[in-house]
C-alpha cells in the first residue's frame, strides 16, 4: 500500500465534504488511515449527491412498484412496460450547480448525463424534456443564465439527435443565485434487451469506452453537495465539458455492441466518474474490482490516481465484457473511432483495488463503500399551516381584460416559444404533439402506439404547504398526461431543496415526499427513478422547494388524442370539475395583487382520478375536440390559451356563485376545460353529471375576441402579442452581465 505524501488533516477532510464523524466511520471501517486516493473515493461515494444520506430514509416511503414497473429506482433509469414487449426507460436528473457556474456547459452536460443513463440500459433515447428555474428577470445575471442554459440544452440535444419536446420555465428571485436545470430523457427498448450494471463472473475484463479522461469535473459531485457562496465562480474547474458528438458515437457503439451479446454489465461514468461506476458494478454483483489506472486513456499527462478516480470527464462508459466476444467488440469500437481499453478485471474478494504505476493506491471493501455510507434522520419541523384566503378578501381588478393581458405576459405565464424553437423537437420524425401542449406526444413503433410526456411542479404551492404542493406536482403531471388522452404509467422525481441540515428545509423535503407518495399511490403513478439535489442555497438563502415530477403516459392508439387549442367555431365550452375560485397562492394574487398568501389549493386525489378518467375516456371515444387543464392563472388563462393557439375566440358566461375574479383566475385542482360539438353537448353534460362529474357549459367558441359576459371584450390579437412578446423582448435586451 502506498504511503501518503500529504497529511490527512482535519482541513483536508473538511475540503472533501466529510464531517469528523464521517471520517471516524471511515477509520472504523478500514482500520487505518486512508490514502489520499481512498479519501477521494470516500468523498465521492459518501457525498449527498451520490449517497442520498439525508433523503434515503424518506425516499423509501415512495411507491415504486406497479404491474408495469420492470425496474424501479436503483438502476441508471426506471423501466416500464408499454405492451408488445416494448419498454420505456426514463429518468430526470439535476445539473443545478454546474449550470449556475457555467450555464452552457452545465446544462449541456446535464442533458448528456441523462441521455447516457438511458442508453446505458440499452434504450435508444426518443424524447427529452427539461424543467428550468431561473432568478428574477430583473436580476442582472438571469438573462445570461437563461441564454446559456437554453443554448446548452439545445447544443447537446440537437447534435445528439433527440427531440426535446417539453418542459417548464419559471422565474423567481429565490433562484437568483441558484438556478435549477433538471433534464429528463426517455428511451425505448425491448423488455428482453435491457442491460443492467450488475457485474457477473470472476476474472472478466472491465472495459473502458468513450472519451479520454481529463481533469475536468473533479469533485463535481462534492460541489453539488454544498452550498454556494460569493466565491462559487472559482469552482468553474469543477464543471465538466460536454461533447455531444462523442456521445452520439458512444450511443451508436453501445447499442451495436449490445447486439453482439458481448456486454455482461454496463455502467456509465456520471457523477464521481470511474469511482462510482466501478464500485457500483462490483458491489451489485457482490464481486471485487481491480483497476489498473495506467491503462485508462488520458487526455492529459501525469494524471494521478486521485485525479483519475474523481474526474467527471463526460461521454465515458465502463463495462464488463464477455472475453469470447472480444473481437466483435473491438470491431465496433474501431468502427466508431472510440477509445477503449481493458482497465481491470472482476475478482472474487469483494475489494476495490486501484493501481497506479504498479503501486496499490486504494484497497477498500467494495460493498461497504456503498452500503455503509452514512444515513441521517435529520431533524425537521413541519412548515406552519397557512389559513385559506377568502376570494372576497383578494382585491378584484378594475378591468378583467387588462388583468388577463397582464397575466399572459408575465415571465411565468408567457409563451416559451423562444426557448423551444432552439430545440430540435422534430428529429426522429415521431413527434405527434410537440412543445406548447399540456403534454408532448410521440408515436412508438408501427403498431400505432404513443407515449406522452409532461413535467410539472408548482414551487410556490410547495413552500406554502409542502404536503399539498407535493401532491399537486404529481396531480398536475398526471392531469397533463390525461389531457392529451394518455394513461399515466409512472413518474420520475427530481427533488430540489435547500440545506437539509436546517430543520425547516428538511421539513419541506419530508412534506413534499409525503405528498408525492400519497398522490402517486392514489393515481397509480409509481416513482421509478429520480434524483435529489440538496444544498441549493447561496449565502444562506434557499431556493423554493422544487420537487419536479416527470411523468410518462401510454396511448394505445396515438391518433385518439386531442390538443389544447380550439378546433372549430360554434362549439360548446365545458368546465369539468368542482371550481370554487381558489385564489390563495394563485398567480393572480402573487403577480397582479402583488403578494402571494394563504393556503394553496387543496388536492382532492379521488376527484383528480375520477375527473381525469372521465376526460380520458371521452377523448378516446372521440367525444371531445380539445382539452386543457386548469393550472397557473386559472380558468380564463386556460381558455385564452385555447383561443390563441387556434385564433378562434370564445364567449363565456361567468358563474353567479363565485366572485368574477375568483371564477376567472382561481387555480382549483382537478379541473379541465373541454370543447364538444354543439350537437352533442347536451348528451355529454347529462352523461358527465350522471357519472358524478361536476360539469357545466360556460360558453361557445367563435369570433376573434374573448368575451366574458359583463366585461369588455379582449382581442385575441392583443392577447397573442402580450403572450408571445415578453420572452423574446426580454432576451433581446442587452446583456448586462
Amino acid at each position: 500500500m502506498i504511503k501518503n505524501d500529504v497529511d490527512i488533516t482535519p482541513e483536508l477532510i473538511a475540503e472533501h465534504g466529510l464531517k469528523p464523524d464521517e471520517y471516524q466511520r471511515i477509520l472504523d471501517l478500514i482500520g487505518r488511515e486512508p490514502t489520499l486516493t481512498e479519501l477521494g473515493i470516500f468523498s465521492a461515494m459518501w457525498n449527498e449527491h451520490c449517497s442520498y444520506k439525508s433523503s434515503k430514509k424518506w425516499l423509501r416511503t415512495l411507491p415504486t412498484e406497479g404491474p408495469r414497473v420492470i425496474e424501479g429506482p436503483g438502476e441508471n433509469a426506471g423501466v416500464v412496460d408499454i405492451d408488445d414487449g416494448d419498454v420505456v426507460v426514463f429518468k430526470m436528473e439535476s445539473h443545478n450547480h454546474p449550470s449556475f457556474i457555467s450555464p452552457y456547459e452545465g446544462a449541456a452536460t446535464g442533458v448528456g448525463g441523462i441521455l447516457r443513463d438511458v442508453f446505458t440500459m440499452g434504450a435508444r433515447p426518443v424524447a427529452a424534456m427539461n424543467a428550468l428555474r431561473f432568478g428574477a428577470p430583473e436580476n442582472e445575471r438571469t438573462r445570461h443564465i437563461v441564454s446559456g442554459v437554453v443554448e446548452g440544452i439545445g447544443g447537446y440535444g440537437n447534435c445528439f439527435g433527440v427531440p426535446t419536446i417539453g418542459g417548464e420555465v419559471n422565474f423567481d428571485a429565490r433562484y437568483n443565485d441558484n438556478c435549477l436545470v433538471n433534464a429528463f430523457a426517455a428511451g425505448l427498448a425491448k423488455a428482453d434487451g435491457i442491460f443492467l450494471s450488475e457485474a457477473k463472473g470472476v476474472g472478466l475484463p472491465i472495459v473502458y469506452l468513450g472519451s479520454k479522461t481529463g481533469r475536468d469535473g473533479i469533485h463535481g459531485a462534492t460541489m453539488a453537495s454544498a452550498e454556494f457562496d460569493d466565491d462559487s465562480e472559482e469552482k468553474r474547474p469543477t464543471v465538466q465539458i460536454g461533447d455531444p458528438f462523442s456521445e452520439k458515437l458512444l450511443l451508436e457503439a453501445t447499442l451495436e455492441l449490445m447486439k453482439t451479446g458481448a456486454v455482461i454489465a454496463i455502467q456509465d461514468m456520471g457523477a464521481a466518474g470511474l469511482t462510482c461506476s466501478a464500485v457500483e458494478m462490483g458491489a451489485k454483483g457482490n464481486l471485487g474490482v481491480n483497476l489498473d489506472l495506467d491503462k485508462v486513456p488520458c487526455r492529459e499527462e501525469g494524471m494521478t490516481a486521485y485525479e483519475m478516480m474523481l474526474s467527471e470527464s463526460q461521454e465515458r462508459m465502463l463495462m464488463v465484457l464477455d472475453p469470447n466476444k472480444e473481437e466483435e467488440a473491438a470491431a465496433v469500437f474501431k468502427k466508431w473511432d472510440l477509445d477503449f481499453a481493458i482497465v481491470g478485471e472482476t475478482t472474487d474478494d469483494q475489494r476495490f483495488k486501484v493501481y497506479r504505476h504498479k503501486e496499490l493506491m486504494a484497497d477498500l471493501p467494495i460493498n461497504e463503500l456503498g452500503d455503509e455510507a452514512p444515513e441521517y434522520d435529520r431533524p425537521w419541523v413541519e412548515s406552519p399551516k397557512l389559513e385559506p384566503v377568502a376570494a372576497a378578501d383578494v382585491p378584484a381588478p378594475d378591468d378583467l381584460g387588462k388583468a388577463l393581458i397582464q397575466l399572459v405576459s408575465l415571465p411565468d405565464m408567457c409563451s416559451r416559444r423562444w426557448v423551444w424553437e432552439q430545440y430540435d423537437n422534430l428529429i426522429q420524425g415521431n413527434t405527434m404533439a410537440g412543445p406548447g401542449g399540456d403534454a408532448a406526444v410521440i408515436r412508438v413503433g408501427d403498431q400505432g402506439k404513443g407515449l406522452a410526456f409532461a413535467v410539472d411542479v408548482t414551487p410556490r404551492y410547495c413552500e406554502a404547504d409542502p404536503i399539498e404542493g407535493g401532491k399537486q406536482a404529481v396531480a398536475e403531471c398526471w392531469r397533463n398526461l390525461t389531457a392529451v388522452g394518455a394513461e399515466p404509467l409512472a413518474a420520475t422525481d427530481n427533488l430540489n431543496f435547500g440545506n437539509p441540515e436546517k430543520p425547516e428545509i428538511m421539513g419541506q423535503l419530508v412534506g413534499c415526499i409525503q405528498g408525492i407518495g400519497e398522490a402517486c399511490l392514489a393515481l397509480d403513478m409509481p416513482i421509478v427513478s429520480g434524483n435529489v439535489s440538496l444544498y441549493n442555497e447561496t449565502n444562506g438563502q434557499a431556493i423554493l422547494p422544487t420537487p419536479a415530477i416527470g411523468g410518462v403516459g401510454l396511448m394505445p392508439d396515438v391518433t385518439k388524442r386531442v390538443g389544447n387549442s380550439f378546433v372549430a367555431t360554434g362549439e360548446i365550452i365545458l368546465l369539468i370539475g368542482a371550481h370554487e375560485g381558489h385564489l390563495g397562492q394563485s398567480i393572480y394574487q402573487r403577480d397582479i395583487v402583488g403578494k402571494a398568501a394563504g393556503a394553496p389549493p387543496k388536492v382532492d386525489l379521488a376527484a383528480e382520478k375520477k375527473h381525469g378518467t372521465f376526460v380520458r375516456t371521452a377523448i378516446r371515444e372521440g367525444r371531445v375536440t380539445a382539452v386543457h387543464d386548469i393550472s397557473d392563472g386559472g380558468l380564463l388563462v386556460a381558455v385564452a390559451e385555447m383561443g390563441m393557439g387556434s385564433k378562434i375566440g370564445a364567449s363565456l358566461t361567468p358563474s353567479k356563485d363565485t366572485p368574477l375574479h375568483a371564477w376567472a383566475f382561481g387555480e382549483d385542482q382537478a379541473c379541465y376545460v373541454v370543447t364538444v360539438p354543439a350537437t352533442s353537448a347536451e348528451t355529454f353534460v347529462k352523461d358527465a353529471l350522471s357519472a358524478g362529474i361536476p360539469t357545466q357549459a360556460i360558453g361557445t367558441t367563435g369570433g376573434n375576441e374573448l368575451t366574458v359576459e359583463g366585461s369588455h371584450p379582449i382581442s385575441l390579437t392583443d392577447l397573442d402579442a402580450a403572450y408571445e412578446g415578453w420572452l423574446p423582448n426580454y432576451m433581446s435586451a442587452p446583456d448586462t452581465h
Binding site: Q422, L426, G429
Partner: protein, 222 residues
C-alpha cells in the same frame, strides 16, 4: 428506384430519411458508411441531416473529406441524383459540388420551426411533383442555414433556373440571401436544401407537403 443514404459519424437524421424513402419509394434504401470508397448502383444518393463530426471546424468540412465523398462526386458527375438535406447540403457546398456556403443563422441561434417554401421551379427531377410557385409547408432545424453566395453566382443560379426552393419572405428563418432554401447544380441532378421534407411526409406528422421531393426524385408517380 433504388436509393442509398450515406452515414457519417454524427449524422442524426439518417433514420428519418431512411423511413421517408422507404415509405414513399416502397423499397428499403441501402445504408453506406462514410469510410466506403465505392457506392452501390443506385438511382438516388442521399446525404442526411445531422452534425457530422460534431460540426467541428466548420459544418460539413470534415465529412466533405470522407472517402465516400469522392465516389459521391463521381456519381453526381455521371448524372446520378444526389439529395443533400441540412448537414447534407452543407457537405455539398463544402465539397464544391454545389456553389455558395451555409453561414451561421443571422440571429445566431439554432432554429426549429415550420416555414413556408415556394417551389421556385418545378422543372427538375426533385420538384416535378409540385406546381410551379406552389407554396408548401416544411420544417427547418439548423444552426447554420444562412445561405450565401456572391452576386454573380446568385444571378447565375437564377438565370439557369437552379433555385429549387425559397423561403417565403415572412418565414425566412435564418437570413438566407434572396430567401434561398435549396439549390441545384448545373446539370440539376444534385439538390441541396436546408429544410427537412423527410419530417413532413404523412398526416400523422401534421402534413404531407414534403413528399413531393421524394415522389419526384424516386419517380413514384406517373
Amino acid at each position: 428506384m433504388k436509393s442509398a443514404v450515406i452515414v457519417f459519424p454524427g449524422s442524426n437524421r439518417e433514420r428519418d430519411m431512411l423511413y421517408a424513402l422507404e415509405q414513399i419509394g416502397g423499397q428499403k434504401p441501402l445504408t453506406v458508411w462514410h469510410q466506403e470508397t465505392t457506392l452501390p448502383d443506385v438511382d438516388l444518393i442521399v446525404l442526411p441531416g445531422g452534425f457530422s463530426y460534431g460540426d467541428y471546424l466548420r459544418t460539413g468540412a470534415i465529412a466533405g473529406l470522407s472517402p465516400i465523398m469522392k465516389a459521391v462526386k463521381e456519381q453526381a458527375d455521371k448524372g446520378v441524383r444526389v439529395l443533400g438535406v441540412c448537414n447534407g447540403f452543407q457537405i455539398l457546398t463544402e465539397t464544391g459540388i454545389l456553389p455558395g456556403a451555409l453561414l451561421r443563422n443571422a440571429h445566431l441561434k439554432f432554429v426549429c420551426k415550420e416555414v413556408e417554401l415556394e417551389v421556385a421551379t418545378n422543372k427538375s427531377v426533385f420538384t416535378s411533383a409540385y406546381n410551379a410557385n406552389q407554396v408548401i409547408r416544411c420544417p427547418v432545424a439548423h444552426h447554420d442555414g444562412n445561405y450565401f453566395a456572391d452576386e454573380d453566382t446568385l444571378n447565375r443560379l437564377e438565370a439557369e433556373d437552379r433555385i429549387a426552393f425559397r423561403y417565403t419572405q415572412a418565414t425566412n428563418p435564418n437570413g438566407s440571401i434572396r430567401n434561398i432554401a435549396g439549390i441545384m447544380n448545373e446539370q440539376k441532378n444534385v439538390l441541396g436544401m436546408m429544410p427537412h421534407p423527410e419530417n413532413l411526409i404523412e398526416a400523422a406528422q401534421g402534413g404531407t407537403d414534403g413528399r413531393g421531393i421524394f415522389e419526384s426524385a424516386l419517380e413514384t408517380i406517373a
